[in-house]
């Protein structure tokens, strides 16, 4: 463990009512980093967060804060006073915004007069100075979450835990709060651990992402690593690899693989040998759609004619599924849909680069 | 886990507190409290409201008057839950004494019972001289009769009269029972315009609101006799013997007997009770 690690846990086991919910052999967080824990609902993200904060009883494992074991009552209390936590709901107290922000300091027994400048500073940092004497029952959702953040930072924590902090906010409020939060954290070099099911937030805010599945961390790495090189199917599906194709490696040379899918072949990159059973993942953003008969340029190694099977609007884009004897999923902009007059049943050409294909070993005995 | 410790600590504290309260001997000094079990008629007339303060001032005892009805008063005495009784149910009292529950039974005063009813007098008993004859008439006409039905002295007297008339009113549709005290039974009776047996004292104190007339009075059998009885200390060690004795002697003292003889005159025109201390028993 390097001197840079602020929090470390080993052999962490948590059970609820006899059923194991968390099994983490090893996990550490570096000082000053922003780490996100992502995964589908029910997989243990919040439980892991609460265990790391020492708020949930664990059935096994050790927690180390700055190299020292956190075990019994006094150590635990001291540890908790160095951290802060913000939940999806602001969970404010029934008093004024000022009193809410001062709550952490009041708990530590700091005198009211000394507290004032700190509170005012934190209120200003999160843009709620004008709400100081307002009752917490009479503010909007965004203002309430800002108050919760100001309350968390008022105690100058070394470590902040965020449990789905933006899930209840509308996009513009969320963006504004993220901006303010980022500014405060950079200024104070606070370490942050965030649990979220929004992979976009995880991608753009984190230095590292930990992907959880069934109470275990199945992959931990930089956003790029996790997004483009998922270590198994579950991670791949969660990070948005929409096309999954099972096949067998037919040939391999200079790192370029020819993978047989049905009676066709696609070109991919990876270190596998002939005969290996593999699964190919392709991000929908990497699949380009052209009108039928269009001669794609040579940079795309994989060119397949096919028929549009299904069109699904998703936000500002369209998910277009193309049947090329195997199904390819592509994301197409509204503009492109109109330019190409894409409709169901239309003949199109789909193309993608070999480097856009991510290959992992197929652990199933039969094809997906 | 720490929460559970807190909970157990709290429960322990509560248990200790109750044990502490339970074992503290609060009154080690001589008994000051005197529990007087008596009838609703003596309380409702206000007689005890006059006599008790005098007694308390004189002796320093604190009288707790529990007005329940002769039957229940004697039941309390038999259990040792009262110190002295002031009741008016002679037959039951004799039984009480013969069972060794009381000592020193002394005659205090009397008044009489009257048969009252609606001015319209549907059974036509007004002016009759015999109570049992009047009851016979009520039964024959099927006129509604309201009984206290609570084993009080009044109730006992009422049953005696029915017996003398040779009638068993139990279960008859015209015979109703309130289970309440004298004042309340009179109110119910007035409201429903029924006949009832009442002691004169309570009737007079409520007369102005009732709208009922006295229909039969003066029959010797309607005499209502009050005795004071001390609960037997030999049977119950916790009885306040000094207080009981003091109260009994107080009730038969000349001073009190004089007060009794004039009680109610200014308000109702005639006294509500007649003092009898020292006189021979009526039977």
């Amino acid at each position: 463990m390097s001197s840079d690690t602020i929090l470390q846990v080993s052999s962490l086991r948590v059970s609820r009512g006899g059923t194991p919910v968390l099994d983490i052999p090893e996990f550490s967080v570096a000082k000053g980093e922003f780490l996100s824990i992502i995964g589908p609902n029910g997989t243990g993200k919040s439980t892991l967060l609460l265990s790391l904060a020492g708020l949930v009883k664990r059935q096994g494992g050790t927690l180390l804060f700055k190299g020292k074991v956190v075990d019994n009552g006094t150590e635990l209390l001291a540890f908790r006073r160095r951290l802060a936590m913000v939940f999806q709901e602001p969970l404010l107290f029934d008093s004024t915004v000022y009193d809410n922000v001062a709550a952490g300091l009041k708990i530590r027994g700091i005198k009211r007069d000394w507290v004032r400048p700190v509170i005012e500073e934190n209120l200003a940092l999160f843009g709620i100075a004008h709400l100081a004497s307002r009752s917490a029952c009479k503010i909007s959702g965004g203002e309430a979450q800002r108050t919760s953040l100001a309350r968390a930072f008022a105690t100058d924590p070394e470590l902040i835990f965020l449990d789905e902090p933006f899930a209840s906010l509308d996009p513009p409020t969320k963006e504004a709060i993220i901006e303010d939060l980022g500014r405060v954290m950079r200024a104070r070099h606070t370490t942050a651990i965030m649990a979220t099911h929004d992979r976009m937030d995880a991608l753009r805010l984190s230095r590292r992402i930990a992907v959880m599945d069934g109470g275990r961390i199945v992959q931990i790495g930089t956003p790029s690593e996790v997004m483009h090189h998922p270590v198994n199917e579950t991670v791949a599906v969660f990070v948005g690899m929409e096309t999954m194709l099972a096949g067998e490696v037919r040939g391999s040379s200079c790192g370029v693989l020819e993978v047989g899918i049905n009676h066709q072949s696609i070109y991919a990159t990876g270190a596998f040998s002939t005969g290996d059973q593999v699964i190919c993942f392709i991000r929908p953003e990497s699949v380009m759609v052209f009108p039928s008969g269009y001669a794609a340029d040579s940079s795309a190694r994989n060119v397949f004619p096919g028929t549009v099977k299904k069109i699904q609007p998703i936000g500002l884009l369209f998910r277009v599924q193309i049947d090329c004897s195997f199904v390819l999923s592509a994301h197409v902009t509204q503009q492109a849909m109109e330019d190409l007059h894409i409709e169901v049943g239309m003949e199109v050409v789909a193309a993608f680069k070999a480097t856009a294909v991510h290959v992992i070993k197929n652990t199933h005995l039969s094809s997906p | 886990m720490r929460m559970r410790n807190l909970l157990f600590a709290w429960i322990l504290a509560l248990c200790l507190a109750s044990v502490f309260v339970g074992t503290t001997d609060v009154m080690a000094s001589e008994q000051k409290n005197l529990i007087l079990a008596t009838t609703t008629s003596t309380q409702d007339t206000g007689l005890l409201d006059v006599l008790n303060p005098i007694f308390e001032k004189k002796t320093g005892f604190f009288v707790k008057t529990i007005a329940v009805g002769s039957g229940q008063a004697m039941a309390m005495g038999a259990k040792g839950e009262a110190d002295v009784l002031l009741v008016h149910s002679p037959a039951a009292e004799k039984k009480f004494m013969s069972e060794g529950n009381g000592v020193n039974r002394m005659l205090v005063m009397h008044n009489d019972f009257i048969i009252v009813g609606p001015p319209s007098d549907p059974a036509g008993i007004k002016g009759m001289k015999s109570a049992s004859e009047a009851f016979k008439q009520i039964a024959a006409k099927g006129a509604v009769f309201m009984s206290r039905g609570d084993n009080s002295g009044t109730n006992a007297k009422e049953k005696d009269v029915w017996k003398a008339a040779g009638i068993n009113p139990e279960g008859q549709i015209w015979y109703q029972q309130t289970g309440l005290g004298m004042g309340q039974t009179l109110n119910v009776s007035a409201e429903k315009k029924t006949y009832t047996l009442a002691d004169r004292g309570t009737y007079l104190s409520l007369k102005k609101n009732l709208g009922m007339d006295i229909l039969v009075e003066g029959d010797k059998v309607l005499l209502n006799i009050y005795h004071v009885i001390e609960v037997n200390p030999a049977k119950w060690s916790k009885v306040n013997t000094h207080g009981a004795k003091a109260f009994a002697e107080f009730m038969v003292s000349k001073e009190v007997q004089d007060i009794i003889s004039t009680f109610g005159v200014d308000k109702y025109g005639s006294p509500l009770f007649f003092p009898d201390a020292g006189k021979p028993e009526f039977e």
Binding site: L50, A53, L55, L77, R80, R81, A84, M85, F87, E89, P90, L91, L92, F93, D94, A103, G104, I107, R108, A136, C137, I139, G141, A144, T155, F161 | R2, M3, R4, L6, L7, W10, L14, G22, T24, D25, V26, M27, Q31, N33, T40, D44, K64, T65, I66, A67, K79, G80, E81, L180, G183, Q184, L186, N187, S205, L206, N209, L210, W236, K238
Partner: protein, 232 residues
């Protein structure tokens, strides 16, 4: 009818002129029920809060007991308290029967389950994560309990008001353990029953009006508490 009107007229007169007996009975009622409620406040809120926050085997049974206790008829409480306080009962040597203390005890027994039950529900109604949030702010267990009680202060006040309302209007147990002794254990409810029985409607109505006044005040406070919002 004019009986009642007479009664009302005289009742107003008694109230306006602050008739000493009526005042004395009112003051005694307030003292007795007030003290009983005070006791039930401590025992009820602490017990309700601790049961709400602790997981232990048999918790369900305890919660059922508390809820059952809320519905026990007051006269039954009066019966059992009398039995305990009878001279020949287990606590007879304390000579508490037919004293104001006995009424306070009986009323405290009646009110405590009410306060405990409503406190239990109020604390349980707080957001589950609030407890974790308070701990994450660095609170000790005691601080956390205190802060949760503060957060639920209005429903808890409603609990206390419900307890007070229940006991100031109670008559059965108060007669059984108090004995309705003039100037000593005669409270509003027991006096009303007695005065009605005696036919003193003016006094009975005056006492009834006072009781109604208290009921009204309690309900006004409860209503204003009910209508308030909680923060997010």
């Amino acid at each position: 009818m004019d009986l009642i009107l007479e009664g009302i007229k005289k009742a107003i007169w008694l109230l306006i002129t602050l008739d000493p007996e009526v005042l004395g009975i009112t003051w005694l009622s307030l003292k007795v029920s007030g003290l009983a409620t005070f006791i039930s406040l401590f025992i009820g809120i602490s017990t309700g809060t601790l049961v709400a926050l602790t997981r232990f085997p048999g918790r369900r049974i305890v919660v059922s007991l508390i809820n059952t206790g809320m519905g026990v008829p007051p006269v039954v409480v009066g019966l059992f308290v009398s039995i305990f306080l009878w001279r020949n009962g287990p606590f007879g040597m304390l000579e508490l029967l037919y004293t104001p203390t006995a009424i306070i005890i009986a009323q405290a027994v009646i009110a405590t389950p009410i306060v405990a039950g409503i406190s239990l529900a109020s604390i349980q109604k707080l957001p589950e994560a609030l407890r974790l949030q308070i701990l994450a702010l660095g609170a000790t267990r005691i601080q956390m309990i205190w802060m949760l009680i503060k957060e639920a202060r209005l429903p808890l006040l409603a609990a206390v008001m419900a307890g007070f309302g229940g006991v100031i209007s109670e008559v059965g147990a108060s007669i059984m353990v108090g004995g309705n002794i003039k100037g000593y254990t005669r409270v509003l409810t027991t006096a009303t029953v007695m005065e009605t029985g005696r036919g003193n409607f003016d006094v009975a109505i005056a006492l009834g009006v006072i009781l109604l006044f208290f009921t009204f005040c309690i309900n006004a406070i409860l209503t204003s508490i009910q209508q308030r919002e909680r923060p997010r």
